[in-house]
């Protein structure tokens, strides 16, 4: 891809271009609107860089193959939408438990069920956090421009490797399919994180032991001479199943804390006209774009209003939101659903300020105008 040049690029395309720059060498997928272009472009591009694409028999096969390929040492990705994302949940849980880095893209569409396959929606926010069974933490990112899809995809790979965990990349149908100006960064300006390889020899390798100074266990690949075991069962530092209560508690704690304790590193967000703001909108993805326009209009009318736009959706920017909440009159959460992230914002900010929500699920974007009039009518002050 031409570096340092301005290009018109589709969101789904930016995702693939960036993934390849981030080091993706393996993609397994199953087509589903509106994510399919990601598979199609991966099929076209990967062999050209010596990577591999495979169309699996279904989404469960796809996430499984992705985990397998990652264990064999390749940075791996899959992409899907609602129904496929539901099917991948068991596999995502496995990747969490076995600490297998991988990136799962969910270009959302209208739901539940088959829903409105060609319409945008932001309905899988809570599923991204809680879709798989059992206690766990997750990293989920949510870009809002084509350029940001590019950057965020790279970041998704980096975080996956750094924290040895599946990273969810949530996208909007609109942005996935939209073409927008993007300045392709120079490769040298891009930071790529590669998984930390064992510093010890095969004899001393404890595949699930965290060494002093590391965040996660060092990760050998199959075929490198480290013969280790990987399981979805609760396991000890050697990777072998254990029924020991302490082992179990420590493992789950570690899996959760490696994320929760590094929130400041993981969390990314944009603050727009926030300095003196008394009213705050929280929005992400394409909805945040409308919110920005709305804020410009309302500012012109004299309202001191600003935007907090999480790019890292999970873990939530708890500290930042608390600080904001303590300072403002109200927070309005705008999203293309019936109020999912609003629940989380309400939990964090509701103690300090009024939290309201605004959403729609009819397949249309939230427009700046409807945000403006919703705010004007003062409805933001009710948690409805």
């Amino acid at each position: 891809m031409p570096e340092g040049r301005i290009k018109l690029m589709q969101g789904n395309e930016a995702c693939v271009e960036a993934a390849i720059i981030a080091g993706m060498e393996f993609f397994a997928g199953y087509p589903i609107t509106p994510s399919t272009e990601i598979a199609e472009l991966s099929a076209a591009k990967l062999p050209r860089i010596g990577g591999k694409f495979i169309q699996m028999e279904d989404e469960i096969g796809s996430i499984s193959a992705v985990i397998g390929a990652s264990l064999a040492g390749k940075k791996s990705m899959t992409a899907t939408s609602g129904p496929g994302f539901s099917l991948k949940q068991e596999g995502i849980g496995y990747a969490i438990m076995a600490e297998v880095p991988c990136v799962i893209v969910n270009v959302q569409r209208g739901g539940p069920s088959t829903g409105m396959p060609t319409s945008p929606a932001q309905g899988d926010i809570m599923q991204a956090r809680w879709g798989t069974h059992g206690d766990h933490s997750i990293i989920a990112l949510y870009p809002s421009t084509v350029r940001e899809i590019f950057d965020t995809t790279i970041r998704a790979f980096n975080l996956a490797e750094k924290y040895r965990t599946p990273v969810i990349l949530l996208m909007d149908e609109v942005i996935g399919h939209m073409r927008e100006k993007i300045l392709v960064p120079n490769k040298n300006d891009i930071k790529i994180y590669n998984r930390k390889k064992p510093t010890s020899g095969p004899k001393d390798y404890r595949p699930y032991q965290v060494k002093e100074g590391d965040i996660v266990p060092q990760m050998a690949s199959f075929g490198e001479g480290y013969r280790f075991h990987v399981t979805g069962l609760v396991h000890n530092e050697m990777g072998f199943p254990s029924n020991d209560n302490k082992v179990a508690q420590n493992l789950i704690n570690r899996l959760i804390n490696k994320i929760e304790n590094n929130i400041e590193d993981i969390v990314e967000y944009e603050e727009y006209r926030l300095e003196d703001a008394e009213e705050i909108i929280v929005a992400y993805g394409v909805t945040a774009r409308s919110a920005k326009s709305a804020i410009d209009i309302l500012r012109d009318e004299g309202l001191k209003i600003g935007l907090f736009r999480p790019i890292t959706i999970w873990p939530v920017a708890q500290r930042q939101l608390e600080e904001i909440a303590k300072k403002v009159n109200s927070i309005l959460v705008v999203e293309m659903n019936m109020g999912q992230y609003a629940l989380e914002i309400d939990r964090i900010a509701g103690k300090y300020t009024r939290v309201g929500k605004y959403g729609r699920v009819d397949g249309e974007l939230v427009t700046p105008e409807e945000i403006v009039s919703f705010v004007r009518e003062g409805k933001d002050c009710q948690a409805n």
Binding site: K7, L8, M178, R179, E180, K181, S290, L365, P368
Partner: protein, 187 residues
Amino acid sequence: MAYFELILSGSGGQGLILAGIILAEAALHDGKNVVQTQSYGPEARGGSSRAEVIISDSLINYPKVKKCDILLSLTKQACDKYINFLKPGGILIVDESIENKLEREDIKIYSIPILHTAANKLGKAMVANIVALGSIYQITKIVSKDALENAVLKRVPAGTEELNKKALEEGIELIKKYKDGLYGRVC
């Protein structure tokens, strides 16, 4: 020109999304900000198809077209469906073949034989989208001609460059020769 919104509409398979992309790339080349989107239904063919392009000097937030400055419609169905998206004072470009016209008093209309030109004059129905681009260019000058021509050539199949260049010119000609500047009646 600060913020310019277009809708290119017709039926699936008429290449309007490609036309939108080409237009967007031309605008980009001219140094503008641009966003191109589309809407589609479950039908693979025969459903209505709509490409949207926003061209602006400043940042574009909301990426969809709310009200457009230009509406291109190659089918009656599309024309009926999107006519109300057109701003007062906006421009409607419709294919001449469209019958049973709707009425709107506040717009400018170009009813031109895009499909016919492509199919008969150029011998390839497929290039109607490029003809349409030529006409849009000529009416709006929203992009530079160079940029447009480059964008077209970059996107069309190898071997069809000349045909497409000609299609662009024919589109331009359609407007140059266009007399009947109707105002206030829909095609």
